[in-house]
């Protein structure tokens, strides 16, 4: 290994690439698998990086920075780009001043997402060039190149990565940092930046010409690489799929795509002329395949490879075999060992547990949202009944309560604090405006927890590690006009249940702020775990709260049923199990020692 190479995740490589390219300004909303890029970038000296409340704002903030001539990075997960599409579709008309790269981190296989949409389609829809790295080194190199491309063609650039690039490590040769490129001031140019019809029509003409120029460039760019070898079969492939095919078919011919759009059709034709047969291998949608077909190239692809999930060596091998290509047969499937189920659960001490126990108790129809609390849909809680996208819960609850003739249960939206600020605010305005009979429960754990603990406008801190002004949820809700507002402590179960009941029974819009900090950010490890006394009668009430610190005993039984036992290392002392224990045999360790 040469000494200047370091092992980096794709996301680390992008952050380093941005710093080397002289990016000064970065904005994002966290989302797996994109989150680490800004966390790492924010620690570099001489730059500015921020979390925005949602991806649309992050992109708009980024546009503002670019308009001053500042090199700008904006990152988000694939579904975040949906939120940001509105400004993006017009930013493509105005073009950039300072170089602008938008990272879209897609999640084939849905490791941590609600869908597996292919954002190459969105890049093409916005008519912006797309770069797609196939390893950490390219993630670094393409990020730097993205800024040259952006400024040369005055266009936002999409750097599209997938989980398998973002969260995979490889060796990267880093370069020198350049001086962050920060613009002096916004220079007015009404015909360019005011996208009203008379000016937008002119800009559209420019966009179409730019697409033609980019198309020509794509055919010249060495990142779209022809590897002409064996003449039997040639592969058009890019991203992680390239690595799998290259490993399995090292002697084949390739068009390795670094820029899926505009598609390098001339290079594809060269490949087709060199080989008997062209096969396109790509994850998710037949994007490259359709581009190749549009260019008149006879090729195959999705006939052999699924549109669903991610690829791996086994799936690619199976696809190649289906295509009649001679590949070493995979080993015969063997019997795996007995599979023990380890379903995801809310953490020990999670503040979402208490409020979901209460929601289950009152048997409300719960319209859910995106966050850790979505796990409450699973047993034993099973207290959450829908999940679409960021902010959807409130709208869903409004529509359902307005449309249904006879709702069977209380109508409740459950949404996290970060998600509420992301896109729950406008829903809440609609709740007040429509006076729907629904309750919004903001499960406020004072952090963006699911993505690993990022700050947001109501936490009092920013991404750069500074204290920041703190948005007050209560004051926002009051200002909207909601009259029934309750703040409760989710660790105080009986009281919380009564407060929740009150809000749900209230005729008209109501809001509950269920507040208690996340068990992990900051860590709530307490010196005083709870323990189960010998008198436990194995009623299982504490098992039903789904706490991963509570187990059935293997040695202690009551009438053949296992008593409860608490793992002292996992217990955070949240006290919920103690509160639901009907015979009060779950006590603080100290109390047990006194009794003994």
């Amino acid at each position: 290994m040469s000494s200047n190479k370091v092992l980096l995740f794709g996301n680390e490589a992008i952050a380093h690439g941005a710093r080397e390219a002289g990016v000064y300004f970065a904005s994002a909303y966290p989302g797996t698998p994109s989150t680490e890029i800004l966390e790492i970038f924010s620690k570099f000296p001489g730059i500015y990086a921020k979390w925005s409340p949602n991806e649309k704002v992050a992109l708009e903030v980024g546009i503002g920075a670019s308009l001053t001539g500042t090199r700008t990075l904006v990152t988000m997960k694939h579904v975040g780009v949906n939120v940001a599409m509105d400004p993006l579709m017009t930013f493509t008309y105005t073009g950039v001043v300072g170089g602008f790269v938008l990272v879209s981190a897609d999640d084939p296989e849905m490791h941590s997402s609600q869908n597996e949409q292919d954002n190459r389609i969105l890049g093409k829809f916005a008519k912006i060039p797309i770069l797609e790295p196939s390893d950490s080194q390219e993630a670094h190199d393409f990020t730097i190149f993205g800024y040259e491309l952006s400024e040369r063609f005055s266009t936002p650039v999409m750097l599209r990565e997938t989980t398998r690039i973002a969260h995979a490590k490889g060796l990267v040769e880093l370069g020198e940092w350049s001086e962050p490129k920060r613009g002096e001031a916004f220079e007015r140019d009404t015909e360019r930046f005011v996208m009203m019809p008379i000016y937008a029509r002119k800009r559209h003409t420019i966009v179409e010409q730019r697409s033609i120029d980019l198309h020509r460039f794509s055919n010249e760019w060495e990142g779209n690489r022809l590897e002409l070898a064996d003449t039997k079969v040639g592969f058009i492939t890019g991203g992680i799929a390239y690595q799998y095919i290259k490993e399995l078919m090292p002697d084949a011919s390739f068009l390795k795509i670094g820029m899926p759009w505009p598609f390098p059709d001339q290079k594809a034709k060269q490949l087709a002329e060199h080989v008997d047969r062209v096969i396109v291998v790509e994850e998710l949608e037949p994007f490259l395949e359709e581009e190749a077909r549009l260019a008149g190239i006879a090729c195959e692809g999705k006939a052999y490879f699924s549109r669903e999930g991610e690829l791996n060596l086994d799936r690619v091998t199976a696809g190649l075999a289906k295509a009649g290509i001679d590949v070493p047969a995979p080993p015969e499937p063997v019997q795996a060992g007995e599979v023990l189920s380890r379903p995801p659960v809310l953490c020990a001490g999670c503040p979402h547990r208490g409020i979901n126990m209460a929601l289950k108790k009152i048997n409300a129809d719960v319209y859910g949202d995106i966050g850790c609390y979505t796990l409450a849909a699973l047993p034993p809680l099973g207290s959450l009944h829908t999940c679409f996208c960021m902010g959807a819960s409130i709208g869903n609850a409004i529509g359902s309560s307005l449309a249904a003739i006879n709702p069977k249960h209380g109508q409740v939206a459950v949404i996290g604090d970060s998600t509420f600020l992301h896109s729950g605010l406008t829903g809440l305005v609609d709740l007040y405006y429509s006076q729907a009979n629904a309750t919004v429960v903001i499960v406020d754990n004072s952090i963006t927890a699911m993505t690993g603990g990022q700050h947001h406008p109501a936490t009092g801190h920013d991404l750069m590690g500074n204290h920041a002004p703190q948005v007050s949820l209560e004051r926002i809700i009051e200002a909207i006009g909601i009259e029934h507002i309750v703040t409760l402590d989710t660790y105080d179960y009986d009281k919380a249940l009564e407060q929740l009941k009150g809000a749900v029974q209230y005729e008209g819009p109501s809001v509950v702020i269920a507040r208690q900090a996340c068990a992990l950010f900051p860590s709530k490890k307490r010196p005083q775990p709870y323990v189960v006394l010998e008198d436990c009668n194995a009623c299982a009430a504490c098992f039903r709260i789904g706490c991963p610190a509570i187990f059935p005993s293997e040695t202690e039984f009551h009438k053949k049923k296992p008593k409860a036992v608490i793992d002292p290392d996992a217990c955070t002392g949240c006290t919920l199990c103690s509160q639901v224990c009907p015979i009060d045999v779950i006590v603080p360790l100290e109390q047990k020692e006194v009794k003994a």
């Binding site: 490993e247 019997q335 995801p344 020990a348």
Partner: protein, 204 residues
């Protein structure tokens, strides 16, 4: 270049056990030994208690970061039931070093508790096409005075099956663990190697 020139190491365990750290150390070791290295991780949505797997591949040139099925040269198991889950991935002639530690999943309340396979490693040994070396990593770590040392004990065991100079292992571990724990980690690494040496003697 043939695929045989790539070494595939699969590291498995449960969230919170240190699978990610161990695989990071292994990556650094392989890189310092002059190999191309790639690694990929899969972990579920939960912060704690879910299945975690890390694929580490090294050799003269590595393309993909995922190991194909049944192509694992060495499996490092942090938890007995997880070792059982992945034992069939070890290829003939490969090895697995499996901690005897058991971590049971939460009951899920009203659900029937998943039955934990108490004889997980015995079952795994039957399924595994290579050698299975059980490692009482947790017990040894506690003896050494810190349960977190299981990680390094398992790496010590793994080091016996990979063709990388022992000095590189020790130097890298020294660099990547907290400074106060360097001496203990070096001891833990040696204890891990000793487990395999003792196992080999017992088998003969």
């Amino acid at each position: 270049m043939s695929l045989e020139s790539i070494t595939n190491v699969l590291v498995v365990g449960v969230g919170g056990q240190g699978v990610v750290l161990a695989s990071n150390i292994l990556c650094e070791i392989a890189a310092r030994a002059g190999f191309d290295v790639k690694k990929s991780e899969i972990h579920g949505m939960s912060q704690r208690g879910g299945v975690v797997t890390s694929h580490v591949r090294f050799g003269p040139k590595v393309y993909g970061s995922l190991i194909a099925s049944q192509q694992t040269d060495a499996l490092l198991g942090f938890e007995a039931a997880e070792s059982l889950r992945f034992a069939h991935e070890v290829k003939p002639g490969g090895a697995m070093f499996a901690s005897t530690q058991k971590i049971k999943p939460p009951t899920g309340g009203g659900l029937k508790a998943a039955k934990y396979p108490e004889d997980a490693l015995e079952q795994a040994a039957k399924i595994c096409k290579g050698t299975l070396v059980p490692v009482e990593a947790h017990k040894i770590a506690v003896e050494l005075g810190n349960a977190r040392l299981s990680n390094t004990i398992l790496l010590g065991a793994l080091s016996t099956s990979l063709d990388i100079d022992q000095d590189i292992w020790v130097e890298t571990i020294k660099k990547m663990v907290p400074p106060k724990t360097i001496e203990l980690n070096v001891q833990a690494f040696e204890r891990g190697r000793q487990v395999v040496a003792d196992f080999d003697v017992a088998v003969k």
